[in-house]
């Protein structure tokens, strides 16, 4: 879940906004360039953005006895590169901040940084590393999606820890406390998102192979 409106001190709110802004600008430029070079990618991009829209609307129960929602940013990061997810995530966060009082405008920079920048980059990197290591595409996509989701909330925890260090144990103690709330809750949800993303990615980019699925008997001779 995102950091609520007014729950970051002014300095932190401004700092995270300044940190996130260049990524959003660079991502928008990358997005335009991608669409100009590959107009046919428009539909895939719409699907990847829509996936983030759906998943971040679903508040799901977790083992900690609280609820959180997945992020859905890994799919787009793996198909389009992590940069384009910054403007995509911004749109989702604006929708939720303005219409749902979920997140907010003063915490928008921090939330964009965690969900639309850190998550996609971590997920993309995990997917690349897994592919280089020779893991199967399905496993690599699973790792990319699950870690993009989890990393988002690790960063959220760090943002709150920096803003509210524990009087006794400092930032580290506070990070442990907020991770217990956000990151631990997220673990099963990230795994579920990873599994779902494998299925959706296959439906989006996959090519049926002969005889494998039995989905298209007519393709059997290919």
């Amino acid at each position: 879940m995102h950091i609520m409106e007014g729950f970051l001190p002014v300095g932190h709110a401004i700092g995270w906004t300044i940190a996130a802004a260049p990524f959003v600008v660079a991502g928008s430029i990358a997005l335009r360039r991608t669409l100009r070079a590959r107009p046919e990618a428009r539909l895939t991009l719409a699907a990847a953005s829509a996936f983030t829209f759906v998943l971040s609307a679903l508040k799901l129960p977790s083992v900690t006895g609280s609820c959180s929602h997945p992020t859905g940013t890994g799919l787009g990061a793996m198909t389009f590169g992590p940069a384009v997810m910054a403007p995509v995530g911004l749109i989702v966060l604006l929708f939720q901040g303005l219409l749902l009082a979920h997140g907010g405008l003063t915490t928008l920079g921090a939330n964009v940084f965690s969900m639309a920048i850190a998550g996609p980059w971590v997920g993309w990197a995990a997917w690349r590393v897994a592919t280089r290591l020779g893991l199967s595409t399905a496993v690599a996509v699973f790792l990319g999606a699950a870690l993009a989701d989890l990393a988002t909330y690790v960063v959220t925890s760090a943002q709150l820890a920096l803003a509210f260090p524990d009087p006794a144990s400092g930032v580290a103690g506070s990070f442990a406390k907020f991770s217990g709330i956000f990151a631990v809750t997220q673990v099963p949800l990230a795994i579920a998102e990873g599994l779902l993303t494998v299925v959706v990615t296959a439906a989006l980019v996959g090519r049926e192979r002969s005889g494998e699925a039995g989905l298209h008997p007519i393709a059997g001779g290919r």
């Binding site: 129960p61 900690t64 609280s66 509210f164 579920a192 959706v200 439906a203 007519i218």
Partner: protein
């Protein structure tokens, strides 16, 4: 990227994801009201910094839980609609490719 899954595998992965999501509601020993982690975190901030008052309120909040639920459903419906449209088109165009052959 090339990734293909058989229908059986896809259904298995989806079922597994559904089980993981549903499990916390039925597993014994999980305590909690399943409130949002953002609320839990806000309470943690207020506990750690007694007297911390959010310095700005949201511009607009849904007037009730019901209306909030509707807007969340709208968000999911928009996303699912677009996603379904694209997946359907992909599926259809693949079939046409095959038929042309």
């Amino acid at each position: 990227m090339d990734l293909s899954l058989s229908r059986g595998r896809s259904l298995l992965l989806l079922a597994l994801a559904a089980v993981i999501v549903a499990a916390p509601m039925v597993l014994p020993g999980i305590e909690g009201a399943f409130s949002g982690t953002d609320d839990v975190a806000s309470q943690a901030v207020e506990a750690a910094r007694p007297g911390y008052i959010r310095w700005i309120e949201p511009l607009w909040s849904p007037p009730s839980k019901e209306i909030e639920g509707t807007i969340f459903a709208l968000q999911a419906a928009l996303g699912a609609g677009i996603l379904g449209y694209v997946l359907g088109r992909r599926h259809g165009s693949r079939r046409r490719d095959v038929d042309d052959r």
